[in-house]
Amino acid sequence: MTTTELVIRVNDLGKVYRDGWLRRRRIEALRDVSLEIGRGEIFGLLGPNGAGKTTLIKVLLGIVRKTAGEATLLGYPAGQRVGRKQVGYLPEGHRIPRHLTGNSALEFYGSLSGLTVSETRRRRQQLLETVGLSEWGRTSVTKYSKGMLQRLGLAQAMLHEPNLLILDEPTDGVDPVGRSEIRDVLNLLKSQGKTIFLNSHLLQEVELVCDRVAVLHKGEVLRVGPVEELTKLTDAAAAEVVLELSGDAESINRILPAVVVERVRDGDRWKVTVPALDQAALDALVDQFRQADVSLLAITRRRLTLEEAFLEMVRTAGGGR
């Protein structure tokens, strides 16, 4: 990935909050955080509460000042207005002023993003349809449910067609159907070449849409990489093998190794998990089944779910929160 393709670049970033009387208490929210996110990626940021995810986003947007390191957004130092012009942001628990309607809210945020009112008016109906609020534009936001407010927030973030979307818990309070629709929107944006920086607690969501993820814990980055890489078990030898077989029970029981992790039988179909095997041992096992006329329906090495991988990483790093 060349530097020019980088949308977000964070290098040894640090942020210390000061609190209490005379501001003597130090709270280290970010420590030596380094990340690179390329154009067109959907990047997920994971971490338990208090890990520093929102602080990282706020530093990138200039809402909070960094205390160490470097951060650039679309090639500009983080916090510069010119960089923010090309960013759409949906904060967690955002509040849209209660005196606005869906339409006037989009007009307001569109103007703040540099759009003329006529440009906003031209785009907003399509946008409201995209987020499923086409019938609600004239309604006061006081009448909106939490999910509807979330959709409106997403619409305002997309309004000025930014190159980068930073979404903090975009599916918070949204029902499963709505979540699926938002996933579709994100995939649509990706197909348009937009970069999406996603911060979510819902790991299944992240697993479903993100190309790469970073795990943040106590202000430090534990891992960064593609989802497959993070969910791949680190020791290949330790990877269990799942065999789906069809054939004579006696032959199968004879050929299987002495130690079997799990054995499930459904008629003449078997699903057997055996402990880690190296490739030679696995080849030999396959040969034996073939010679005994046992059909091999599937052979897979088992992967971790993202949630399992995340919990494992956090446990290894020392504690949950």
Binding site: Y89, P97, H99, E107, F108, Y109, S111, L112, G114
Partner: protein
């Protein structure tokens, strides 16, 4: 720019979403509808009120002295026997007059309602006004017209005592119904009354109540903007934090703009439509009151940014208001109750001694031994405590003079007359005090008019002048009449008492106000200014030496008040509008005009003993010194700051009094310092000077913005404490427009600047 306009517009939209705004707009509409019913209708002035007579004791004296077969004599004859007896025994300095004067007024007022009043008085047609003649010629007149004729006949019978009543007067009405019987106003009175009522109304409903409601309603706007979730979204946009805050702040002012604008512009239109008064002051008060709100709102917004809570914002505004009020009240109380009274008002060089009077009317002599002022010319008759303060507030400096008579080595002063109905009111009195007995006050002879000038001729004669005439004192001024009363009648011994006699050849017509006079020390001639007319009263020669007669007059084509001074062959007429015109002292031909800059009204003017310099001191403390030889102004640090008093000495040096009782003597014309009379500060003066004044200077002054509105209504930079703007010598308080505007603008810039700095550096 688009982004900030959007924030501004959003704040407007937030305001329009407020139910309180709509409730207030409905209330204001209701008020304006009710207010539009008020109007005026033409009326005629009849009857006799207290304010219709220039000087009631003078009036009664005239009633007492006229022959029985004159019109006024016939009027006296129509009074009850008891009142006639009281009139006959009336003296200017007698007691028990208040009740008697009230009875006289009521008796004449009821006479004016009678059908045969005009016939019985039988005033010659030549003396009557055109209006009276027309009414008289109309045979069949209504009751109201007859009463009007009676009033005009009374004015013609007593032209020096009864004020001429205007022909065109109006009376207030509501939906066509007359509100008050026997109440009418002329154009000027209507203008003053309407503006006074408007001022009081908008002060309470816009400045006090309106601002408070606006603060309550707008307090949540800024904290709401800084709520988590709202501020993140706002700051993620490509906008400047400071400008977003300022846009929100000024957008929040929309509430006040809409309400105050609607009320004030509505009232302006109604007052213009119903009363014919298009008051610029009312219209211009709108930006001033908006500024007042912006000032308080800046405190609310700054608190909102810091603590993110609307309740705390309101509390802080109240605390801020209270702090400003306390600082302002502490300063004004210290000034009003103590310090103003101790400020130098007049400097009196008295031979080797130096005397000075304070604004409270106390006279002090400089003690070389003590290096301080010591009170002289004291009197136990003076009012004390709060009553003294009330009189000072109502009347100002209580004396004409004192003047120093080098021949007899004594001070001469005349206490000012005040209406007998006011506290401490009564006729003016003449006092003297000799250097020999440490300037102890003696005398107390009653002065026969409301004096506006006190002069000492080169021969030491005491002359007093006022709109009612010119009088010379004869006799010993130190001797006082001691009343000896039996059944209310005074049998005290009056033998040997001094008295005032008319010093003009025959009775001159009453001089209309504004009035001023000055004596030429070289010729003892007197120059009189009366409502734009300048007249020279020349002193006679030989047997008529003590008689003055009018020789030359000049129309100055103005009706402004003025102060006069004479130096050498020049008469200076310092007009209230701020231009100083000079005339030849013998011919009254114009010589020169100087415009010193600014419309400040003059308070005092004098010429130097050698006739070379003319000095003017105005009510805002600026001094003007003119050298008649070089035709140039004399300038220097000595008179560049705030000057409280000026005086020329016999040796032609200049004495300058600044704040408190500090006086410096300077050589002329180079203003080189000669001597200083610098008393130590009292504790209160020191506290005021070193603590109260610096705090007041740096503190914002929101309350003073009401004075700016008053200035807009008054169109004057100083206003007479007694309400008589025609008397420039009377105390006037300065309406300081610049200080509150500058001080409050600076506070606003500082508080908004600090808030912007905080907003731009804060992690949200």
């Amino acid at each position: 720019m688009r982004a900030y306009l959007a924030v501004l517009k959003d704040a407007f939209r937030e305001t329009l979403a407020s139910k309180v705004l709509w409730v207030l707009l409905i209330l204001i509409t209701g008020f304006l509808v009710l207010f539009s019913g008020l109007s005026v209708a033409p009326a005629v002035r009849t009857g006799l009120d207290f304010r219709d007579v220039f000087d009631w004791p003078d009036f009664v004296v005239r009633l007492r002295d006229v022959p029985a077969d004159s019109p006024v004599g016939r009027l006296r004859h129509r009074l009850t026997d008891e009142l006639q007896k009281q009139v006959e025994s009336f003296t200017r300095d007698g007691g028990g007059r208040r009740r008697f004067l009230r009875e006289i007024r009521e008796a004449i007022d009821s006479q004016l309602e009678t059908d045969d009043f005009a016939t019985v008085l039988d005033v010659a047609d030549a003396s009557l006004s055109d209006e009276a003649r027309k009414l008289k010629a109309t045979g069949d007149v209504s009751k109201q017209q007859r009463q009007r004729l009676n009033r005009l006949v009374l004015e013609a019978a007593l032209p020096d005592d009864v004020r001429p009543s205007p022909r065109d007067v109006v009376t207030p009405t509501y939906l066509g119904y007359v509100l008050f019987d026997d109440f009418s106003l002329d154009d000027k009175e209507l203008d003053t009354s309407v503006k006074g009522v408007l001022q009081a109304f908008i002060f309470f409903f816009v400045s006090v109540l309106g601002t408070f409601i606006a603060i309550l309603v707008t307090a949540p706007i800024v904290p709401r903007m800084f709520e988590p979730g709202a501020i993140d979204l706002l700051l993620s946009k490509p906008v400047s934090r400071s400008l977003v805050f300022l846009s929100k702040f000024f957008g929040g002012c929309a509430f006040t703009l809409l309400n105050a604008g609607y009320l004030i512009i509505g009232m302006w239109l109604i007052v213009g439509w119903r009363f014919g008064i298009w008051s610029d002051g009312l219209l211009l008060s709108l930006p001033i009151y908006l500024f007042l709100f912006v000032l308080y709102y800046s405190v609310s917004a700054a608190t909102g940014v810091l603590f993110r809570g609307p309740i705390l914002s309101v509390v802080m505004v109240v605390v801020f208001w209270f702090a400003c009020f306390v600082v302002d009240a502490a300063k004004s109380s210290a000034e009003q109750f103590e310090l103003n009274g101790t400020r130098v008002h007049t400097i009196v060089p008295a031979g080797e001694a130096l005397l000075a009077t304070s604004s409270a009317g106390k006279t002090f002599g400089w003690s070389k031994a003590a290096g301080a002022w010591e009170e002289v010319f004291d009197s136990t008759e003076d009012l004390q405590g709060l009553r003294a303060v009330a009189v000072r507030v109502g009347r100002g400096f209580p004396f004409l003079g004192p003047l120093y008579d080098p021949e007899k080595q004594r001070l001469v002063a005349v206490s000012k007359a005040a209406p007998v109905f006011l506290p401490g009111g009564g006729p003016g009195r003449l006092f003297v005090a000799g250097a020999a007995d440490n300037w102890s006050r003696r005398g107390g002879i009653t002065v026969p008019l409301s004096p506006r000038g006190l002069f000492l001729s080169s021969a030491g004669e005491i002359l007093v002048i006022g709109p009612g005439g010119l009088f010379r004192f004869e006799g010993n001024p130190e001797k006082t009449h001691r009343p000896f009363k039996i059944f209310g009648l005074d049998f005290g011994n009056r033998d040997g008492l001094g008295k005032f006699v008319e010093a003009t050849a025959g009775k001159l017509p009453r001089w209309p106000v504004p009035f001023a006079a000055a004596m030429d020390p070289a010729t003892n001639n007197i120059v009189v200014y009366s409502k734009g007319q300048l007249a020279l009263l020349a002193r006679g020669e030989g047997e008529t030496e003590q008689i003055y007669s009018k020789t030359v007059s000049k129309d100055l084509a103005t009706e402004k008040a003025a102060i006069l001074a004479i130096a050498g062959d020049r008469v200076l007429v310092a007009l209230a509008e701020g231009n100083y015109r000079m005339f030849d002292a013998r011919t009254l031909q114009p010589v020169d005009t100087q415009v010193p800059g600014g419309p400040s009204k003059p308070r005092w003017a004098a010429g130097s003993s050698d006739g070379r310099f003319l000095a003017v001191l105005n009510h805002t403390g600026q001094a003007w010194l003119f050298d008649t030889t070089t035709q140039r102004l004399v300038t220097g640090r000595a008179i560049g700051g705030t000057v409280r008093a000026l005086a020329f000495t016999e040796k032609n040096t200049l004495l300058v009094g600044d704040l408190f009782m500090r006086i410096n003597e300077y050589q002329l014309p180079d203003l080189a310092p000669l001597r200083s009379f610098d008393p130590p500060l009292t504790t209160l003066q020191a506290v005021y000077h070193y603590a109260l004044l610096p705090i007041y200077t740096v503190f914002p002054k929101p309350g003073q913005l009401n004075a700016v509105v008053q200035r807009l209504f008054e169109d004057e930079d100083t206003v007479s404490v007694s309400g008589d703007n025609d008397d420039l010598q009377a105390d006037q308080f300065e309406i300081d427009v610049r200080t509150p505007l500058v001080s409050n603008a600076m506070f606003l810039v500082v508080i908004l600047g600090l808030t912007c700095l905080y907003v731009s550096r804060k992690d949200f």
